[in-house]
Amino acid sequence: MSAPKENVVVADRAMAPYWEAARAGRLLLRRCSACSELHYYPRPLCPFCLSSEGEWVEASGEGVIYSWSVERRANPPYAIAFVTLREGPTLMSNIVECDLDGLSVGQAVRLQFEEREGQPVPVFKPA
């Protein structure tokens, strides 16, 4: 892919609550106070109206697989997916602790966190 490192948490004051919550095993979404839209990945300016007034909302951790693939040439192979959260937004993640031949679109999955290069990131496993 495009950037120099796999896991780049840039020095970013506005996103500090997101990464702190991740360390506590919680996934935060962003809701705009002006237009009320939820969005992900989180930004300090709403991508629907550019308002800088917003609040953090904790995701329930429930979601379904919107689409998935298994990178077969990797060693070991791994599952990547877009997961649609119960709250609405769809995000990129991995499906872990799963049968790589048993995944399906619409399958219910549950949030957990895994460390990637020392940084906890949201992943999902079959519910």
Binding site: A3, N7, V8, S69, E71, R72, F82, T90, V123
Partner: protein, 387 residues
């Protein structure tokens, strides 16, 4: 204000190399520039506008302008990945239509096989804001496009066999191209029985990785009138960016929905009028989605539309990528937009290989996608007419 009929493609060139051992990027750019200017019957002194993307070495167009001795009044380094060169064609036409320039040169070159930028890696000096939320999950070009295929299969019942027909059609065309990397005709069975690289995509659903390049010379009508080669008129163009939209995603369609509609509107023609189409074929699914999005069939009907040889010249209703495309011929620098225009121009000139030349080919469309289909990509469409 429109570009319709106000600019002409006067020269084209495709570099014959597929493995440019010992030839630096700058030389490839200059060689394709010379080839396209020779084809047009113009010289480097005639060029007053230069267009290149992130594959050109150096900052913007500076280094290549210097290397080739260009003196230009307008330059444009729009970087939209593989769709860049079709966007450049649009921008060059705009600059010509408004009288800013008269002769535009557009170049592409890449060396993913022999030490240029590694495959699938556009130059990106600054870390994009999406990176911390995506890169930990190891997205690759393969698994990203595969997820579009998976969702398309889920929503519309598209099958691997239907996708395979796209590769089969490309291979039928490539057998006639002496420069093509893969000239062997393949069958649906061979495609679906090739190894899965990223579910549901097989190895033969993927394009080749090649070195090479290409160039276009675009001119004002009064210049075109003085030239000897067959002329190709630009009728309309459109561009779009599609992204993840704050997480409200639908990855079954591409920005071609927008760029195609704009191009058809400007050209004043309809999909049914198009005799030949060049569409970006990084993967079979890319072709299928774009054909739907450009309006050649209804959304979700792409699988049936591409089946049974419908894309094979002389067999089906919509001949596509008659040079073998990225799936079989070449994919210079992992950027397919340039070669799409080159084969569309050959078809309109009547200079495609006789075995794949479309009869009475007077109207063609070329479309490119750049970037990553499910997350963020650029789309660019151009409609061309034999003058």
């Amino acid at each position: 204000m429109t570009i319709k009929g106000k600019a002409y493609i006067a020269g084209i060139y495709e570099h014959p190399t597929r493995k440019a051992e010992g030839i630096p990027l700058a030389q490839l750019h200059a060689e394709v520039a010379k080839g396209a200017l020779d084809d047009a019957g113009l010289t480097v002194a005639d060029v007053d506008g230069y267009f290149c993307a992130g594959d050109a070495p150096g900052l913007g167009g500076f280094s290549m302008a210097e290397y080739m001795g260009l003196r230009v009044r307008q330059t444009d380094c729009t970087e939209t990945g593989g769709s860049s060169y079709i966007a450049h064609l649009n921008h060059a036409s705009q600059a010509i239509a408004t009288g800013k320039i008269k002769v535009a040169l557009i170049t592409l070159a890449g060396k993913p096989r022999t030490g240029g930028a590694p495959p699938g890696r556009p130059p990106m000096a600054v870390i994009p804001p999406d990176a911390p939320f995506e890169l930990p999950f190891k997205p690759t070009v393969l698994n990203l496009y595969a997820m579009c295929a998976r969702r398309h299969m889920h929503e519309f019942g598209t099958t691997s066999e239907q996708l395979a027909w796209i590769k089969v059609a490309a291979s039928h065309h490539a057998q006639h191209n002496p420069h093509a990397m893969l000239r062997e005709v393949v069958t649906v069975d061979e495609v679906v029985n090739s190894p899965i690289v990223a579910d549901p995509l097989h190895r033969l659903d993927c394009c080749v990785v090649s070195d090479g390049g290409g160039a276009l010379v675009v001119v004002a009508p009064e210049i075109a009138a003085q030239l000897q080669r067959p002329k190709v008129r630009i009728l309309g163009a459109g561009e779009a960016i599609k992204h993840t939209n704050g997480g409200e995603m639908d990855i079954t369609w591409s920005g071609a929905v927008w760029s195609g509609a704009k191009a058809f509107e400007e050209a004043g023609v309809r999909p049914a009028d198009i005799k030949y189409v060049s569409v970006y074929d990084s993967f079979t699914i890319t072709v299928l989605m774009q054909l739907e999005d450009l309006g050649f069939c209804a959304k979700g009907e792409g699988g049936r539309f591409v089946s049974d040889g419908n894309l094979i010249s002389g067999v089906g209703k919509l001949p596509f990528n008659t040079d073998g495309g990225g799936l079989c011929n070449n994919h210079p620098g992992n950027r397919g937009g340039m070669t799409k225009v080159l084969e569309a121009v050959r078809q309109l000139r009547g200079e495609a290989h006789p075995a794949v030349q479309v009869k009475n080919c007077d109207l063609a469309l070329a479309h490119g996608t750049g970037g990553y289909l499910p997350t963020r990509h650029g789309s660019a469409t151009v409609i061309l007419e034999r003058a």
